[in-house]
């Protein structure tokens, strides 16, 4: 369906833990959906997310001109789609939500991507994907070790400014270290703060590799975490903003990339 104000396109961001879909007409976001991954087939979840989005926007699937797919699990989405790489999607998405941002970081469940960008074009990119220590998975393991969910971990961390060092980089070793810290009577809030600080340091390192420039925009599922943002802001010493709908930035970027 071609109209004066652009095509109807959809972007699917098939991440390690969730499937995100965004629907655009030109540069107008018509609707979006975020579904949990779980054990179900990724193609089926993607179809459901697309159907949900179409319903919200009041259109049918046939109305969509083009569907783009990105994210770690993109190759499991067996639909008629065009694959767009993550850096392009992030740059486009950032340009949509926060065009003034020159540095961006997407923190996902299994990997992180830092980038310098301008006008929706990635200028320099760095991935952290080989190791769980720079991803949301690190916080998952910390929260599980402390027998709480991530929202609780974040609240706990925010309740103090003091922290104990979590020295292990490896998530597996950090798990043992945190157990030892708990047994040594360290305050749980300070352990939580320490874990956030450790992750923030690694993300900051990734940002330094692409060059830190004002304004920094944070995207991805983990970025809405207030404690992580607090730590990252302290380290970076500049303003760090979260995209308004941080978890669909990539999906939006994908839809915009095939406009």
């Amino acid at each position: 369906m071609v109209t004066d104000d652009g095509l109807l396109t959809a972007g699917i961001d098939a991440g390690a833990s969730r499937i995100k879909v965004a629907l655009f007409k030109g540069r107008r976001l018509l609707g979006h959906a975020v579904l949990e991954g779980g054990a179900e087939n990724i193609t089926e979840i993607s179809k459901r997310a697309l159907a949900d989005t179409c319903r919200i926007a009041g259109i049918t699937l046939e109305d969509i001109c083009k569907i783009a797919v990105t994210g770690m699990a993109y190759k499991y989405v067996h639909l008629e789609v065009e694959h767009i790489n993550e850096s392009t999607c992030l740059a486009r998405g950032i340009d949509f939500f926060m065009p003034e941002a020159r540095t961006a970081i997407d923190v996902g469940a299994q990997k992180s991507l830092a980038m310098k960008c301008k006008g929706g074009v990635p200028l320099k990119i760095r991935y952290s994907e080989k190791c769980a220590s720079g991803s949301g998975r690190f916080l998952d393991v910390v929260a599980a070790t402390m027998a709480m969910d991530k929202a609780e971990l974040s609240r706990l961390g925010l309740s103090t400014q003091d922290f104990v060092e979590v020295q292990s980089t490896c998530t597996i070793f950090a798990e043992s270290e945190i157990i030892t810290l708990i047994h040594s009577d360290a305050k749980p809030a300070e352990i939580a703060r320490g874990a956030y600080r450790a992750l923030a340091r690694r993300l900051y390192g990734l940002l330094l590799q692409v060059g830190l420039e004002d304004v920094v925009c944070v995207a991805g599922g983990v970025s809405a975490d207030a404690c992580l943002l607090d730590e990252l802001t302290k380290l970076a010493g500049c303003e760090i903003k979260t995209a308004r709908q941080s978890d669909i930035v990539m999906a939006c970027g994908a839809a915009l990339a095939v406009q």
Partner: protein, 262 residues
């Protein structure tokens, strides 16, 4: 003269009692929550085995991850020095030592006297350490001791495990199991992945003949035969590869005792 060496590792604690010529007693136990407690228990064990009392020992040297927590040791020496020295005692021709422990992996280049020339170490990441294999055992349900042999008997060939990260590999492996691949094939892929990691550590020091492997993973035939194949070298392994560090510590204890006797 009787000497003792004690090696407190992240997962097990080892002790040996040596006389001038040989190892007279050795013991291994899990480190558990306290290195100090484990050190005392394993020391009691080897003393009982050798029929000696603590007072009969001319000197005790500690090594390993928990080496500073041994109140009865006269000195502590790094595990890198002790492994090189211990391997040299068993195999004097060895110039490359690969020590794979519960929580780290070291490649050591040493000279004819067992002195360390150069080393490379991974203690930041669980990949290539015993911990990786322990977790693999836990989530595949294959006992630790069977991982090596089964990884060498793939049914349809190794299934690639994309990530060496122990956290991500867990996802990969569980996914492969769900997809219906043979456990042996998955184990082959997972062991391949960590051996690649181990080989990069050895390459940082440059492997030279002869090669010896020490530490707990030396008992894993799957890891050993892959390392041998990748490096094109045969690995020398002591009868009990886990006590090499403790033997090295006991040899340092002998140096110390001889020096103070002068």
């Amino acid at each position: 003269m009787l000497l003792a060496g004690i090696d407190i590792g992240s997962s097990s604690t080892k002790a040996v009692v040596m006389n001038d010529r040989s190892v007279v007693a050795s013991g291994i136990m899990l480190t558990g929550a306290s290195g100090t407690v484990a050190a005392s228990s394993v020391m009691d064990l080897v003393l009982a085995q050798s029929g000696a009392a603590m007072g009969d020992l001319a000197c005790i040297v500690s090594t390993g991850y928990g080496r500073v927590n041994v109140p009865f040791a006269q000195k502590n020496v790094t595990e890198i020095s002790c492994h090189a020295r211990g391997v040299n005692w068993y195999f004097p021709g060895v110039r490359t030592v690969l020590d794979m422990g519960g929580q780290d992996c070291k490649a050591i280049k040493c000279d004819e006297g067992g002195r360390v020339v150069k080393f490379a170490l991974n203690d930041k990441c669980a990949a290539g350490t015993g911990r990786y294999l322990e977790r693999l055992s836990k989530y595949t349900g294959v006992p630790l001791g069977e991982i090596g042999p089964r990884s060498l008997q793939p049914v349809n060939g190794p299934v690639s495990v994309d990530s060496f990260c122990a956290v991500f590999a867990e996802n990969d492996v569980l996914l492969r199991i769900r997809e219906g691949y043979q456990i042996n094939d998955i184990l082959a892929g997972a062991v391949d992945a960590i051996v690649e990691r181990i080989v990069t550590i050895i390459q940082r020091i440059g492997a030279e003949e002869e090669l010896a492997i020490s530490g707990g993973i030396a008992k894993n035939t799957g890891v050993v035969s892959r390392v041998e194949k990748r490096l094109g070298m045969r690995a020398l392994i002591a009868d009990e590869p886990q006590i090499i560090g403790a033997v090295g510590a006991a040899l340092f204890a002998r140096d110390l005792a001889l020096k103070s006797a002068k």
